[in-house]
């Protein structure tokens, strides 16, 4: 029996290998996007993210290395195993050259491991966890748009500067939330502030009133919201209802323009937040916003702009090198400066973090907002080093070597 199986395996295996080789060698260059397309984060990139990738593909003419560019997309449903296995499948069967990762740090950490094993460049964009370029860094991952360190350095520093010294956190109970809370706690304690307490709410909680009551009872001055997407919207909405926004300063450690749009300025006004990009920064960003708006009927989020930028930079690099060899591409990306609509003079550190300008914003009041999507005023512009530090993360094995 065993012998028979071995013989069958010997017959079948070479056929399978031959088959994948034929497909991998393929006559197309394949780019993948694995993101939350249906859950709490689906408005952050979602369909708009796919559209941003398509815009970049169109901008390089739709072909590279003389082959058409094909974009694949999949919904990871916020489950790390689904994200990782889809990535593996595309790498093995579809000859994937590059992957863009959407929301959810937990999923992105799982996908980074696949990137290292399969040697496929991986741009983590929607995920915030700083460990992606720390303990979980790999030779093939790039953390492109923002990370928890930069968010904490932005929002927490500005609020501490205004006298908000005692903090209470409502944290999303998974990798992203805890990393964000840790980063913010570091900033708070380093600047002479105190953290009075924190509560971890399960991802997808709709009723935050219990947690808000605990925050109120703590007597803290600042309500730190270490969550995102609809978790963030629901917690801020609750804070308004229970009158916390009158007695505490709400700090959005991560908010996207899609969240502000859905909350409306009436609820979100006065809120501080940190962002990598805003559609109304300058002529170039407004132009991009207009193009995106024509397709999606909403202004792009910072990560949708980063989706466009990452795809564009990757394809341009492949064009310059006349090769999509992962090692050559990674080396070239880490050498070059990144200049496009997303950022100016951005660069990729040894640990894989793309260092670039970040903005601390305050949400306008309904009276201050003059036209649709006129939501933010710039409070502070942070250089990439100010946001993320001078050096690579020492916990990243690539840096230690």
């Amino acid at each position: 029996m065993l012998l028979k199986m071995t013989i069958t395996a010997l017959w079948v295996l070479p056929c399978l290998c031959a088959f994948t080789q034929v497909r991998a060698a393929g006559d197309k260059v394949v780019i993948g996007d694995i993101d939350d397309l249906s859950g709490v984060y689906a408005d952050v990139q979602g369909q708009g993210g796919i559209e941003a990738i398509n815009m970049a593909v169109a901008d390089v003419g739709g072909t590279v290395l003389g082959k058409p560019i094909v974009v694949l997309s999949a919904d990871h449903q916020n489950k790390p195993d689904i994200g990782a296995s889809k990535f593996r499948e595309w790498a093995d069967q579809d000859g994937l050259s590059m992957l863009i990762g959407g929301s959810n740090t937990g999923v992105s950490i799982a996908m980074a491991k696949v990137a290292a094993a399969k040697k496929v460049p991986f741009f983590a964009i929607g995920a915030g966890g700083a460990s992606l370029t720390g303990a979980d860094c790999t030779r093939y991952s790039i953390h492109y748009a923002y990370d928890t360190t930069a968010l904490a350095n932005g929002t927490a520093t500005v609020i501490l500067g205004q006298g908000g010294k005692s903090w209470y956190f409502i944290t999303a109970d998974y990798a992203f939330g805890t990393q964000l809370q840790e980063a913010a706690t570091r900033v708070v304690t380093a600047n002479g502030g105190r953290v009075l307490g924190a509560v971890r709410a399960p991802l997808g909680t709709t009723d935050y009133s219990s947690f808000l009551l605990q925050a109120q009872a703590s007597g803290a001055q600042v309500l730190g919201l270490a969550n995102a997407g609809t978790d963030f919207s629901n917690s801020l909405k609750g804070a308004n209802e229970f009158g916390l926004t009158k007695t505490m300063i709400p700090a959005a450690l991560l908010a996207f323009i899609s969240d502000i749009h859905s909350l409306t300025l009436q609820t979100a006004q006065g809120l501080y937040l940190t962002t990598a990009w805003y559609w109304d920064l300058n002529e170039e960003t407004r132009e991009f916003g207009k193009r995106f708006f024509a397709k999606m009927h909403k202004e792009p989020t910072m990560t949708q702009a980063a989706y466009y930028s990452a795809t564009l930079q990757y394809l341009k690099t492949v064009k310059t090198l006349k090769s999509n060899d992962p090692d050559l591409v990674m080396a070239e990306l880490k050498k070059a400066k990144i200049n496009d609509v997303f950022t100016k003079n951005g660069y990729i550190r040894d640990d894989g973090l793309m260092v670039h300008t970040m903005y601390v914003m305050q949400v306008k009041t309904p009276a201050e907002s003059k036209y649709p999507w006129d939501y933010y005023k710039v409070i502070k512009v942070m250089s990439g080093e100010e946001a993320d530090g001078q050096q690579s993360d020492p916990t990243c094995p690539l840096v230690r070597k």
């Binding site: 249906s38 859950g39 709490v40 984060y41 689906a42 408005d43 952050v44 979602g46 109970d173 509560v199 971890r200 709410a201 399960p202 997808g204 909680t205 709709t206 009723d207 009133s209 219990s210 947690f211 009551l213 605990q214 109120q216 009872a217 997407g229 609809t230 919207s233 629901n234 909405k237 609750g238 209802e241 229970f242 009158g243 899609s258 969240d259 749009h261 859905s262 909350l263 409306t264 009436q266 609820t267 909403k298």
Partner: protein
């Protein structure tokens, strides 16, 4: 400060109050589920979707037609209930003779389609529905400030639960409904139009879910997924109360809301599983649920 087991009394009272608010939602939703299961034998997995559609009906009504909250309380359940009637007539009706699993699969599919359509049309992050002006502000209870709107939710849902219970247990119509579930053919032989009664019952159960949705709209973001997380908890509530027991659904909804509130003080991470732990314990001890009949 007064404490109980090391937890400040004010915190416990506060969480119990909020537990009562959540319990009211659970009671209202599980009531609809229990009515539908008790009278039709259908496990209505689309209940969360109808709750969501109720909230969206209120939102769309306000945005597009300027229908205010009070009218929405009446119109949204009517509209969504009518949708339920159509679904019953077109699809569900054909499945009564089959294994209950088919009804479950059908309603689950309907829920996915409804969520997908609303996500496509309104996005995942949802929309804000303002609290009506009369119900803004809060009562100071000493240990917490209770928003007036939340108090209204408790009052409204308890009233509706009580009226539904009276309707089914104490009126002639209710008696006919209960008789039809015991022996449909016999009741039909008395000249009562059973299929019509079943259709109205499903519509009414769906309307209750939509009413809960309208009540929830000013409290949470109106978004496509708002029902899918809730419906699973509500199912657990119905199972704990005893499938089909209307009184059981109302009581266990309120009690579980309170227990969940207490969990949020003691160990918040467990707040979303405590209901299921209780369900497991109840099922071991009383497989038919607390108020169910074998």
């Amino acid at each position: 400060m007064n404490t109980v087991f090391g937890v400040p009394l004010a915190a416990i009272l506060g969480q119990l109050t909020l537990g009562l608010v959540n319990g009211s939602f659970y009671a209202l939703l599980s009531l609809g589920l229990a009515v539908i299961f008790g009278l039709l034998g259908v496990v209505n997995f689309a209940h969360g979707a109808f709750y969501m559609l109720g909230a969206f009906a209120a939102y769309i009504g306000l945005q597009t037609f300027g229908v205010n909250y009070w009218c929405a309380l009446l119109l949204a359940p009517l509209t969504v209930g009518f949708l339920g009637v159509i679904i019953e007539r077109l699809f569900l009706r054909h499945l009564y003779r089959l294994d209950p699993l088919y009804g479950l699969l059908l309603t689950f599919g309907i829920a996915l389609i409804a969520e997908g359509i609303m996500r496509g049309a309104y996005g995942a992050s949802g929309n804000s529905y303002p609290v009506p002006d009369v119900l803004r502000g809060g009562f100071n209870l000493g240990f917490m400030v209770l928003p007036i709107y939340r108090a209204w939710v408790v009052l409204a849902s308890l009233t509706v639960c009580g009226m539904t219970w009276l309707l089914i247990e104490r009126t002639r119509l209710g008696a006919m409904l209960r008789a039809a579930t015991e022996n449909a053919r016999l009741v039909q032989a008395f000249g009562i139009n059973v299929p019509l009664m079943v259709m109205i019952t499903y519509g009414a159960g769906v309307a209750l879910a939509a009413l809960a949705g309208v009540l929830a709209a000013p409290v949470t973001q109106v978004q496509p997924m708002m029902g899918s997380s809730l419906v699973i908890v509500v199912f657990a509530v119905v199972v704990i109360g005893g499938m089909g027991s209307i009184f059981g659904a109302i009581v266990s909804g309120l009690v579980l809301g309170l227990i969940e509130g207490l969990t949020k003080v003691v160990y918040p991470e467990a707040s979303n599983i405590v209901v299921f732990v209780i369900m497991a314990v109840v099922l071991i001890w009383r497989p038919a649920g607390l108020f169910g009949k074998e």
